[in-house]
């Protein structure tokens, strides 16, 4: 008990120190609004990618529909804060986004999670496109023009806290009875069932949890950027989240953090290369995959506990 308290305290201190570090850097002017913009993008991508990593890396279900759930969160926030333009309205909208995305994840997940591998990927991609097309044709969502002039309630501190919160939730989920059940489904469905694991239930649990964090990311995206359009949530967005997961290492939350930061910085640096930016990005992507086929970190996780003791039980992950 005492040891657990120590580790949790260390993580808390790390998180708060990180917050003050960024705040100080902003105050002294090292981080300008351009870099702050980059940090927020990285933060939102971390929320998206950890959720997807839970689904792909830990539950072993190849989902390509993450952008659809992000869209639900984003539109929930845009629509709600249009009338309730206050911080309370904003947090309520996050909550509404989570609820709607959970419902959507159940509707999509219950039938499709029976499918395997690439068939599941295509089915979830299709489901996410259906969500996008519906949004594109609704009046309430502004159609193809999307919504703009969304009031800004999500600044970098909000995003920072949300990154910490969603990571705590996902990592604690993974390192618990639930996480073990989910991993057993990934390893061997038949053996898991024979051990009393309801595989449909646990697949859904991971899928729904991943979807709801995606909705949170969507809410932050909408409120920070103040403008959204259906085209932000297409197949390419799902793919770019997938790229972060695979690049960091499928099944490593630490890797997801590293990959989100690496790609975020790379993308920002490439802004200086004009029309060549996407060409260089593509080459970098192929090169990293060829030389690091299991991702930057494989399945390795950073663990404070391991730093302190030789016991290899994994604890929570870097935030």
């Amino acid at each position: 008990m005492k040891a657990n308290f120590k580790y949790n305290l260390i993580w808390l201190i790390v998180m708060i120190a990180g917050f003050y570090l960024i705040n100080t850097l902003i105050l002294v002017g090292v981080i300008d609004s351009f870099i702050a913009n980059m940090l927020v993008t990285i933060g939102i991508n971390i929320i998206l990618a950890t959720g997807l990593n839970l689904i792909i890396g830990f539950a072993g279900q190849f989902s390509l529909g993450h952008a659809g759930f992000m869209a639900i969160g984003a539109y929930a926030t845009a629509i709600v804060t249009q009338t309730a333009s206050s911080p309370v309205g904003f947090y309520a909208s996050i909550f509404i986004g989570i609820i709607v995305s959970i419902i959507a994840a159940l509707i999509v997940g219950i039938p499709t999670l029976r499918l395997r591998g690439d068939y599941l990927a295509i089915a979830t991609m299709g489901a996410s496109e259906i969500i996008r097309i519906i949004i594109n044709n609704l009046k309430m969502t502004g159609g193809a023009a999307g919504m703009f002039n969304i009031p800004q309630f999500a600044d970098w501190p909000t995003v920072y806290i949300m990154v910490c919160l969603t990571t705590i939730i996902i990592v604690n989920f993974i390192h618990s009875r639930a996480g073990r059940a989910v991993k057993s489904v990934r390893e061997d469905e038949i053996a898991a069932e024979a051990m009393g694991i309801n595989i449909t239930k646990w697949k859904l649990a991971a899928f729904v949890l991943g979807a709801s964090t995606a909705a949170v990311a969507g809410s932050l995206h909408a409120s920070y950027l103040q403008t959204i359009a259906p085209n932000d949530f297409g197949i390419m967005e799902s793919i770019s989240i997938l790229i972060i997961v695979v690049l960091g290492g499928v099944g490593s939350i630490t890797g997801t953090f590293v990959a989100a930061v690496v790609l975020g910085v790379l993308d920002t640096v490439l802004q200086n290369f004009g029309a060549l930016r996407m060409v260089i990005y593509a080459i970098a992507l192929v090169m990293i995959m060829i030389f690091k086929p299991s991702g930057l970190l494989g399945t390795w996780e950073f663990s404070v506990k391991r730093l302190f003791s030789r016991s290899k039980r994994k604890e929570r992950v870097e935030s």
């Binding site: 939730i169 604690n172 618990s176 009875r177 057993s184 898991a192 069932e193 024979a194 051990m195 009393g196």
Partner: protein
């Protein structure tokens, strides 16, 4: 002694092919029963039917546990597992990329209730249940002398140890009936002898019923109180080891050809 599991006229057809036809059998409490038969006789299929991996085509399977009588046919595998029927697999199916400890803990998943919120926010109750689970798992592993390998990945264990771990994992679900599918496959005579002792020990310690499929006749004859013989999907004979050994039909169909 009472009947724990009653199997009546179970049939399984695979697109026109009858893999198991009209098999009836029963397992009593605290009994150790063997299921033998030549390759392709339908032994593993029968196991799969009993544990719900595949559904029966017709027939009934009924569990008479302390708390009541439950029909098992048509139930999904995880429900049957929760009711107390656990198994090992012929072609070892451990969670290969997880540790020994995790393998055992997973089998205990359905035995604890832990809410989402206490888990996510690490309430003290979470640490308490986790600790209890870990202690229980450790006790089980000790019986099989695996307590020092808790952090080893299952795939890195030697073959014989993997078979042992599968039995530990099955026991962790707290079964009333344990199905062992060729537990001694690929083991040398010493390992087989050791395993025989272990199985006896387990049955005594946990007071459970065991049904095992085995080709190793020395193990079967030493262990089993009763034997069912399966051939071409139907029951050929049943009885005590002595009766089976002297049954002419069995000798003709099976022992005569297969004995080393």
């Amino acid at each position: 002694m009472r009947t724990l599991l009653k199997v009546d006229n179970v049939v399984k057809n695979f697109s026109g092919l009858t893999a198991v036809s009209n098999v009836s059998m029963h397992l009593d409490t605290n009994e150790l029963v063997a299921l033998i038969g030549p390759n392709g006789a339908g032994k593993t299929t029968l196991f799969n039917l009993l544990t719900g991996v595949i559904p029966v085509s017709s027939g009934s399977i009924v569990l008479n546990s302390d708390s009541g009588t439950y029909p098992l046919n048509g139930k999904p595998a995880y429900t049957i597992a929760k009711m107390g029927l656990s198994r090992t697999f012929q072609n070892i199916r451990l969670f290969k990329d997880l540790t020994v400890m995790e393998n055992v803990l997973i089998a205990m998943t359905s035995k604890v209730k832990e809410g989402f919120i206490p888990t996510i926010f690490r309430f003290p109750s979470y640490y308490k249940t986790e600790k209890q689970l870990a202690e229980k798992a450790k006790q089980l592993l000790e019986i099989f002398e695996l307590e020092n390998d808790t952090d080893v990945l299952a795939k890195n264990l030697p073959y014989g140890t993997q078979r042992k771990l599968e039995i530990v994992r099955a026991l962790a679900t707290e079964p009333q009936i344990l199905f062992l599918d060729e537990p001694a496959a690929g083991m040398n005579p010493e390992e087989t002898a050791e395993l025989t002792q272990l199985i006896i020990k387990v049955q005594r310690k946990f007071h459970i019923t065991i049904l095992l499929i085995e080709h190793d006749m020395s193990l079967v004859m030493n262990l089993a109180q009763r034997i069912y013989v399966l051939d071409h999907g139907s029951l050929l004979a049943k009885g005590t080891p002595a009766e089976i050994q002297s049954n002419p039909a069995v000798i003709k169909a099976y022992l005569g050809e297969e004995v080393d």
